[in-house]
Amino acid sequence: MTSTPVASARAAPFPSAPQWRRARGLLRSWLPHLGWTIVSVGLFAAIWELCWYFGWADPRLLPPPHVFLSDLTGQAKFFNTAQRWQVGVDSNAGPSPAVAVLITILSSTMRVFAGLGLATVISICLGVAIRYFRLIEHLTLPTITLLAPVSPVAWLPVAIFLFGIGNGPAIFMVFVALFFHMILATITQIDGVNRNYINVARTMGASKWQIYRRVILPAILPGLLVVLRFNLFGAWMVVLIAEATGVGFGLGQVIMMARNTFNPSLVFFTIVIIGLLGFGCDFLLRQIQRRILYWLPNRTAGLADV
């Protein structure tokens, strides 16, 4: 990386001082964040509990948090959907409840990241190629624009035709739900690059390839990371739809089973898990964003401080 000599030159006289300052700054900036997150969620839960307390919310339909969070092991048992559909498997066979929850969470998360990763890499490559080569634009852009508005639900049968049952259709669904939008977003980002940047590089004798690699790619990176963060939530939504139908296990499958067995507690319990996972992924992505976009002042690092 080009920044290495700079970093070492800066860090040389006082190796620990910047790190210490950064750690303290992080702590100071995250404490209020954490506090407000707790207050916000707590407020929401309190309103729900009040509705239950005054009898406005029927606990059989809208069980409040203290009900659906009280019996964790009982809820966790339902996650053991891994082998149920196989003939001759005892309903108590399989992993313990805690392990079952873990397997379910990991498999859903894996599908989200696989789909998101594939969609990101391929759409950025293709988006750049569309702007780089006119021919590729002519060959692909009309089709992409045509397919972009198709709802993920419409792709569901296609996913099953193509990949049957398993991880394949879920990953494909996440991919296809994000891919077209991310391509169009990449192209928009490229078109929005400050002309001065490109002209500066041109007057210095940069080739087209150098302009793309040295100017356009770093210039669109902040915007792409924001797009990626928005699409992360989209990926979580789509993976549930895919899992509800095309996969043997996963969080979507649990929700589906809860619906079929009329188990609202399990629905809300699963929603809490999904919420926590999405929140965690977003946090992770924000940290990555800060790391990669070292050149932006903190205030404008995408949506980091919004």
Binding site: T2, N196, V200, M204, A219, L221, W295, L296
Partner: protein, 265 residues
Amino acid sequence: MSEPAICCRGVGKVWAAGTERAHEALRGIDLIVEDGEFVVVLGPSGCGKSTLLYLIAGLEETSAGEIAAHGVPVTGPAPDRSLIFQETSLFPWLSVWQNVSFGLSLRGVGKAEQREISRQVLFRTGLTETFDKRPHELSGGMRQRVAVARALAMRPKVLLMDEPFAALDVQTRAKMQGFLLDVWRESGASVIFVTHHIDEAMALADRVVVCTARPGRIKDIVTIDRPRPRDPFASEAVALRRKLTELLSAEVDRAFAEQENVAIA
């Protein structure tokens, strides 16, 4: 007899030629800039002065006439003709020294040599302390100085400047003009400097080229041979300012009248 730094002959530019939105930005520009000369192009807003710079830089193609740099026809951008923009154009993802050595890195110059040349250029331009900084840590004036340093690192024979100080406050602008004159004297490059500011033109130029309203043509060329730094309140300066103001205000009136006609039509 050596070739002039820049030679424009009958240069014209029509934007969006052949379409409904076609409009003529420049017409019949004949201009010769000698080696080491400081030429200021003065004209009302939207008269095509920036277009002229883009044509000389080779970023856009002429619609008529031809441009030669040191006798060689301009067919595209070249590192010996550096363009400096009004807005900051430093790459925010690179540190100051990496910005300054950007052009060198495009040519495949080694890292150590890049750093060394950046160090020298930043030293010469009084920016040594910014070496490791990021552009967003600098003030507007400092950023434009780094932009000048970046251009100088390419050892240009011609510096093209498109209202580089227009976004700066008056005090910073005056400082920057002094800075630019120092840089110009030291580098020996020719400068073509575009502005709509009469005082700026008077402080800097060997020759002031006054442009007409659109389409831009050369209305008059005024030679200033007073030594720099120039006292803006000397009696010759007052007379010169009156002359330039009269030349320019006629064109500003025409530009306004034209805009009103467009609005009525």
